[in-house]
Every structure is written in structure tokens, then in C-alpha cells.
């Protein structure tokens, strides 16, 4: 009896194993996107870096090739509404101070960065505008309004190469991020590197392991049908190895974000990307 029960349960997990045939060249709306480039000099164990797009099935890949098909754009549109929406005691919208959203081209490639000794991400910059200039409530790190706005600002840099600073002021944050990347955590006792550096390209059960790049964030995931923040993804990976995640927006995840961004130097910004 128990036997049948388990067979049934096992069968629920069955699906069609999509042969992960990677298409090699990505062009979105006529713009060519770099999904493969020589690894930056600081990476000791990897020669070539690849966008996560390269590890997805042909069907998932196709969704990102045309903005009409890309479900993430529903949320980017919402970001555009928020851009013009007056909010807070100062009676301002983003567009009251920033003339053109296009002026943000290039910003995504350089974040996170150090401002006055502090490591800041795009979420920090957005919330600084909300609290200090608009006198409005800050947005929650991974909630819909924030990811809509990081998606809208991020897409302005689409096609531009990731290019974060890791020297000078940034060096200690980068070192800390690197240490976290290689530190094993959780009951499963794994580090990011065990999956995304040592085993990318392999199947781990139903998942095709990528290098865990962040050039496509926020990403639309088929799994939850919304935009997902970078720190939200880190949190998910930590929970999968049964580790207590660090706090979204906290020092650890910001440092890890800087380090991961630097592992993607030269890959095109793909925001908003589609993943499973």
C-alpha cells in the first residue's frame, strides 16, 4: 500500500525533461545582447562567463527575445505609472525632479556603488528619493512597487555592459562579498560557489545550474509570475540549502550583490529577464 502511495507522489514530480538546447545569440528588439564573454581577471576559477539566459530552455529563452512576449513588461509599465505618480508630503513624483527616464541609461551597470562610505544598491537610491525628497514611505525591498521601478530604471541600461567598481572605497565590500560567496551555510552545508561555480551547466534534479549571474534582474520568474529582486533570489537559494537567509537590504546581501555584479563584468544588462 505504502508502495503505491509513493509511486503516485513520485509521478507528480514527473514532467517533460526539456533538452536544454542553448541558443547562443540573443538579440532583443534588434539590439544584440552579450551573453558570453571572457571572465574578468579577478575570477580565478572560471574562464568564460555566461548569462543565465543561456541555461534556460528554448521556450523560456524565446519569451525574452521580444518585449511583447516578455511578461515582465506588464510590471515595467506599472513602473511607468509610478514614475508619474505624486506621492508623499512634498507633493512630488519621480518625474517632478527627473526629466527623462532615459537619463538613467548606464546606472544599472554601475550598481551597487559606494556613496559617502556606504554601499548602495538601486533600491537604496530609490528609497532615498522617496523618503528625503518626496517625504513618502520607503518601498519594501522586494515588493511589487520596488521591483516595478528597478525594472523600469534597469531596462534603460539594457544592452550596456555590467561595469561595477571594485577597487578603492568598494574594495572592502567586495572582499566581504567574495568571502560570503565561498562560505558554506545551512544544513546542506553549501556555498554559492558549489553550485554556481563548480557545477554550472549540470542538472541538479530538474534545474539546469547557471553561473548565478545578476545581469538580468529584476527577473520575471515563470514559477511565481512576478518580478523578483536580487536579494529575493539570494534568499531563495539560501533557503534551498536550509540556511537562515541574511536580511534583504542588509550589509551581507549588499556585499554579495557587489561581488556577483563583478563576476558579470562585460555581460550585457538584460533587465527585465525571464527565468523559470
Amino acid at each position: 500500500m505504502t508502495n503505491t502511495l509513493w509511486t503516485t507522489l513520485a509521478l507528480i514530480g514527473l514532467g517533460t525533461a526539456v533538452g536544454a538546447q542553448d541558443s547562443n545569440s540573443l538579440s532583443i528588439e534588434g539590439e544584440s545582447i552579450v551573453t558570453e564573454v571572457a571572465a574578468p581577471a579577478h575570477m580565478e576559477n572560471v574562464d568564460t562567463i555566461y548569462s543565465g539566459w543561456r541555461f534556460r530552455s528554448a521556450e523560456t529563452q524565446a519569451l525574452e527575445m521580444d518585449d511583447f512576449d516578455n511578461p515582465a513588461f506588464v510590471f515595467v509599465e506599472q513602473g511607468m505609472d509610478l514614475w508619474d505618480k505624486v506621492d508623499g508630503a512634498a507633493g512630488k513624483a519621480c518625474s517632478s525632479c527627473h526629466e527623462n527616464i532615459e537619463d538613467f541609461a548606464g546606472l544599472r551597470t554601475q550598481l551597487p556603488r559606494v556613496d559617502d562610505g556606504e554601499l548602495v544598491t538601486m533600491e537604496n537610491l530609490i528609497n532615498e528619493c522617496r523618503t528625503d525628497r518626496m517625504e513618502a514611505e520607503p518601498w519594501k525591498w522586494s515588493k511589487g512597487k520596488m521591483t516595478a521601478m528597478t525594472g523600469l530604471i534597469g531596462v534603460q541600461s539594457r544592452g550596456m555592459p555590467m561595469n561595477v567598481a571594485i577597487d578603492g572605497d568598494a574594495a572592502p565590500f567586495w572582499e566581504k562579498g567574495k568571502e560570503l560567496y565561498y562560505t558554506r551555510v545551512g544544513q546542506l552545508d553549501m556555498a554559492c560557489s558549489n553550485c554556481h561555480e563548480d557545477n554550472y551547466g549540470m542538472m541538479i534534479r530538474a534545474d539546469h545550474l547557471s553561473q548565478g549571474q545578476i545581469n538580468g534582474f529584476p527577473t520575471y520568474r515563470l514559477k511565481n509570475a512576478k518580478l523578483n529582486s536580487i536579494h529575493g533570489r539570494f534568499k531563495g537559494c539560501m533557503k534551498n540549502i536550509r540556511a537562515t537567509p541574511f536580511k534583504e537590504g542588509g550589509d551581507e546581501f549588499k556585499a554579495l550583490e557587489l561581488y556577483l555584479a563583478s563576476r558579470g563584468q562585460g555581460l550585457s544588462v538584460e533587465t527585465p529577464s525571464v527565468r523559470n
Binding site: T2, T7, G15, V185, G186, A206, R242
Partner: protein, 151 residues
């Protein structure tokens, strides 16, 4: 609900995480990675071991090891070696060492230690102080692996 289900099944097979006669994770004796003594003093159940091997909430060994003995399961992983013929490559005592704490055998391995309850950092609260598998589940998996002869 799923939890309750697993618990019921475990009880049905006489394996719970806290069986009195079990060797505690901290007391397992490794000699060059080899563990000679049974963790439970009872024979492993290969049929249950096969289930624990595939179950995502238990061993989930299939996440990393492909296994021709389980064609009914979709999605076999490729992170570790295939399990075909593993029962001929290793003895029972060696397999007990590998499954209980693979790090004693393969330096720096990604493979989790399935029978340790300390020594890992920042576990989620609900897993703190616990091993991934119970002693009986480890014995059951070993009994199952020993059935995988030849390829």
C-alpha cells in the same frame, strides 16, 4: 500535511529520528572515512531506502546522482557520479561512511553529510541540531545501494 505523511511512513518502517538504540551522529566512529558498525543495529530496508533516495524532502540523492534503477522518476541530476553499479564499487562500511559524512571521504565535496547534527552554520531554525536523515534511513539507503550491482 506532507510532513505528517512522512512521519506516518517513517513510523510504519520503524524509523524515527530519535530511536533509542541509534548511534548518535556525534558518536559515529570513522576509520579513514569507513564506518563499520551499523547505526541502528537493525538490517536496512532496501525498499524504503529506494524511496528515501528519490524523495525530495528526504535524501533527494537523485538531485545529484542519476540512477538507471529509477526510470520512473523524471529529472536525474548530474552533479555526482551515476549510481549504477555503486554496490560493487564500495563495501557496506564504506557506503555508510560516504552517506553519513561524505566529507570524511571526498575532500571539499558538494555532497551533504546526511548524518551529522552539528558543524554546519546558520541552519534554518527548524533544522538546527538535526541530521538530514535518521539513522534508520541511512541504513535503508545503504541496503538499497548494495542492490545496485553491475551496470
Amino acid at each position: 500535511m506532507k510532513r505528517a505523511l512522512i512521519l506516518t511512513l517513517c513510523t510504519a518502517f520503524g524509523a524515527t529520528a530519535v530511536a533509542a538504540g541509534d548511534v548518535k551522529p556525534a558518536d559515529v566512529v570513522y576509520e579513514d572515512g569507513v564506518v563499520s558498525a551499523s547505526l541502528t543495529g537493525q538490517a536496512g530496508d532496501a525498499v524504503n531506502g529506494r524511496m528515501v533516495f528519490a524523495n525530495r524532502k528526504q535524501g533527494n540523492c537523485l538531485a545529484c546522482h542519476a540512477n538507471s534503477d529509477m526510470p520512473e522518476e523524471g529529472f536525474h541530476g548530474e552533479v555526482g557520479p551515476m549510481m549504477d553499479g555503486v554496490g560493487e564499487r564500495w563495501t557496506e562500511a564504506e557506503l555508510r561512511g560516504i552517506v553519513s559524512n561524505s566529507k570524511m571521504v571526498f575532500e571539499g565535496t558538494i555532497m551533504p553529510a546526511f548524518y551529522i547534527d552539528s558543524g554546519y552554520e546558520r541552519p534554518l531554525d527548524k533544522f538546527a541540531g538535526q541530521s538530514i536523515l535518521s539513522a534508520q534511513q541511512v541504513e535503508d539507503i545503504i541496503a538499497y545501494l548494495l542492490t545496485l550491482k553491475d551496470s
